[in-house]
């Protein structure tokens, strides 16, 4: 017969200081893990909302990101009339030639300056990006040195607020609007007109990439293989979604470091949990003897103390979730493959929290197993005699 769970619960309540301290130790360990998982997940969410499967992006062959790609205007003229490209409101193909560069701006976190992506694009480029809408101000005038900035650029870089003037390469630009990309990567960009931006950067002929809107998934595939197989062009094309998914790899080192830290801390915490449970066993020697006299088997004792260790660590896991909860939604940034700042939010999901609790329970069971074994091996008479 099993010892009732309420016995363990009451014991944890009686020794509340020890219980709380041990649980808090476990909670901090799990909180580190949860924070890292939320960070990586936030980055994934941002990248996956940035790319549209019906957008095709073309880069110079061999280039893995827009910033290292070189794209000439003549290549764009050849591409614009490829089959499968949707037509825009004006009847012209929805195709945008774009130039990407990065500029160094002082941010809130980093007064020394961080790289921010600047994108020069054609009017079609705005039309085809359905996920981006104007949040404040107005769009830039293509014949002026005007830009709009992403929401998180406006929030994190004091020099890039609405109404300010910003220096890109050689001239001062007016910030006339703020765009909202619903947490996509475009929130971390500054947009201006292609011709204005490329001339300011002195890159009028050789720009960076081209983006096309296609009508459906089948045409997207056809257009991609059409571009990839056209040897004359020397370009690689992929769907914009795949392009951004590929960039998730930039989170890999962070994820690895985070996991290592969490595992090392978990080893430390399970030793601490072991300590607490050994003390519990030592203090309750007489109780254990009594339980045995009452007829509970060695196995029931083992199970009971093991369960107590698990309960203790589960409490730690729940505390960890509460500790990390305020982090949810906080914006931070990471270096993207475009060599620039990519802002994203910590994104905590129920699934991540469950992982955290499971992790806590795992380290608690490792820590609880040996003390529970000691408890179950005690002889009745010696246990009863112990002070």
């Amino acid at each position: 017969m099993a010892i009732p769970l309420s016995y363990n619960l009451r014991n944890l309540v009686v020794r509340k200081t020890t219980t709380l301290m041990t649980a808090l130790g476990i909670a901090l360990t799990v909180a580190v893990l949860l924070a890292i998982l939320a960070l990586v997940n936030g980055l994934r969410v941002t990248l996956s909302t940035s790319g549209d499967p019906l957008h095709v992006i073309a880069l110079r062959k061999g280039a893995t990101s827009e910033v290292v790609s070189l794209f000439t205007r003549s290549q764009f003229q050849d591409l614009k009339f490829k089959p499968g490209i949707a037509a825009g409101r004006d009847g012209q193909p929805l195709a945008s030639l774009e130039v990407i560069s990065v500029i160094n701006l002082a941010s809130v976190d980093n007064p020394g300056g961080t790289n921010v992506t600047v994108r020069g694009l054609m009017p079609a480029g705005i039309e085809l990006r359905h996920n981006v809408r104007l949040a404040e101000g107005r769009w830039f005038n293509p014949s002026r040195r005007e830009v709009v900035v992403g929401k998180s650029v406006a929030g994190r870089f004091p020099a890039a607020r609405l109404g300010r003037k910003i220096r890109i390469a050689r001239s001062e630009w007016d910030i006339v609007g703020v765009i909202d990309a619903a947490r996509g990567a475009q929130d971390s960009e500054i947009w201006g007109d292609l011709y204005q931006v490329s001339s300011d950067l002195d890159r009028s002929e050789v720009v960076s990439s081209a983006v096309f809107q296609v009508t459906d998934a089948v045409t997207a595939k056809a257009l991609i293989s059409n571009i990839n197989n056209d040897r004359r062009l020397e370009l690689t094309a992929s769907s914009e979604k795949d392009y951004y998914d590929e960039q998730t790899s930039s989170a890999a080192p962070l994820e690895f470091i985070g996991l290592m830290v969490a595992i090392i801390m978990a080893v430390g915490s399970s030793f601490a949990a072991m300590n607490t449970m050994y003390a519990a066993v030592a203090r309750r020697a007489r109780e254990i003897g009594t339980l045995r006299v009452l007829g509970f088997s060695r196995f029931s004792i083992l199970l009971s103390f093991f369960v107590e260790g698990v309960l203790l660590s589960a409490l730690g896991g729940i505390l960890a979730c509460l500790l990390v909860l305020p982090l949810n939604g906080i914006t931070t940034a990471i270096g993207s493959t475009n060599f620039a700042d990519l802002a994203f939010d910590f994104h905590l999901t129920p699934q991540i929290m469950l992982t955290g609790i499971a992790f806590a329970v795992l380290l608690g069971s490792v820590g609880g197993l040996f003390p529970a074994g000691t408890a179950s091996r005690k002889e009745i008479l010696t246990a009863l005699r112990e002070a």
Binding site: L70, S101, V102, G112, F271, A272, I334
Partner: protein, 385 residues
């Protein structure tokens, strides 16, 4: 000091608990040791004498915007500048780019100037000459050679992105450097020809060698002043500052390190506090006996605080020793490449770790120790917990 042996005896009384506590603190401290060492290496260490002689000039807008090749002669005319070498980030991919091992740094440089600017690189004279005279040649750091097993005469094939096309480079030299180095240097003349006409003659950065490191700040200022209000303004900074600038690209590394270190320290504090609370609780009666024998509350306080410090410092020493081993692994990893120098023993780091360990011990036992010191004799003696 008289009570040292009593403190030691007390700490060793419940062996299992002491060992578990030391192990728990040790594991956490080894993590903390790595974090402190990394923080120190990134933000607090001073450059090596050779590195202190180098400056890097780039476009003020950002590293991806080029500056003209014509700046080279103007930079060299700035007083105090001994040499200015053009260097460009080659980028490209080697085999499967998804394997981080394949993502070693590749720069195109002027071969005849490389070993002047990097005076600390050691390379046999014949290999150096072979590199200068072979347009498709490259030299690689000892670390890179070791990790891939590259030998002299081997060919390394790279697929370019900034420089489009496929390239084959012949290993003409392998150099040794004080912090082991895994960089590949390529002859700039050769790859430049693949660029579109409009982008030839563009320079990513200039590596500058100055004659006296004490003047480097003024020299950097003088270089930037030369190009102020010109189409391409420059930003010149020390090589160390330039490298640390890359760290900010990975993310907010400083905050990351501090946040984790804070969480780890707090965990250690909890572990240690818990242990001490348990030990003191079990010994209330003993404290009563000690007091009857004439031990003053002050001595009781010292005894308990001393015990906590002994245990946490022991954990700190164990942890620090493991962390020095771990740091060797970290410095070989890609992120370690950012850190300027990492010696096996860094006194500041060791002191910081011991300091944290000891103060955690003190802090964690303060509450139970004060409680025990203040407990009235009769109540303590009566306790049978």
């Amino acid at each position: 000091m008289r009570y040292l042996s009593l403190i030691l005896k007390n700490s060793w009384r419940n062996r299992r608990r002491t060992i578990l506590t030391i192990a728990s603190i040790g594991v956490s401290m080894c993590l903390l040791g790595v974090l402190v060492a990394m923080y120190h290496a990134f933000y607090l260490s001073s450059p090596t004498p050779a590195q202190a002689l180098r400056l890097v000039t780039r476009n003020r807008v950002s590293l991806t915007v080029a500056i003209p090749a014509s700046y080279q002669s103007r930079i060299k005319r700035v007083p105090g500048v001994r040499e200015a070498m053009i260097a460009n980030w080659f980028g490209g991919t080697y085999k499967d780019a998804r394997d981080p091992k394949n993502q070693f740094s590749r720069f195109t440089v002027e071969p005849e100037k490389l070993f002047t600017v990097y005076g600390e690189f050691h390379i046999p004279e014949d290999q150096k000459q072979a590199f200068i005279h072979d347009r498709t040649g490259c030299v690689i750091g000892r670390d890179l050679a070791d990790s891939f097993g590259f030998k002299l005469g081997d060919r390394i094939t790279l697929t370019g992105d900034i420089y489009p096309g496929n390239y084959e480079f012949t290993v003409r030299g392998i150099f040794d450097s004080p912090p082991p180095n895994g960089v590949m240097y390529i002859n700039k003349e050769y790859v430049e020809q693949s660029l579109p006409e409009a982008r030839r003659g563009e320079v990513g950065m200039y590596y500058i060698l100055v004659d006296d490191s004490r003047n480097s700040a003024q020299i950097a200022e003088a270089i930037d002043a030369q190009f102020r209000n010109s189409p391409a303004e420059t930003k010149t900074e020390s090589e160390q500052a330039f490298i640390i600038g890359f760290l900010s690209l990975i993310g907010n590394v400083k905050m990351f390190l501090v946040a984790i270190a804070g969480a780890v320290t707090f965990t250690i504090l909890l572990v240690s506090a818990n242990t001490m609370a348990m030990s003191v609780r079990e010994r209330v009666r003993e404290v009563g006996v000690l007091k009857t024998l004439g031990f003053t509350p002050g001595i009781i306080l010292v005894l308990i605080l001393g015990e906590a410090c002994t245990i946490s410092t022991a954990g700190g020493i164990v942890g620090y020793l493991i962390s020095t081993l771990l740091m060797q692994a970290v410095s070989k990893s890609p992120i370690g490449g950012f850190a300027p120098t990492q010696s096996f023993f860094e006194p500041v780091v060791a002191l910081a770790c011991m300091g944290i360990a000891a103060s955690v011990g003190l802090l964690s036992s303060l509450v139970p120790a004060l409680g025990a010191a203040r407990a009235p004799i009769v109540a303590a003696l009566r306790s049978n917990d």
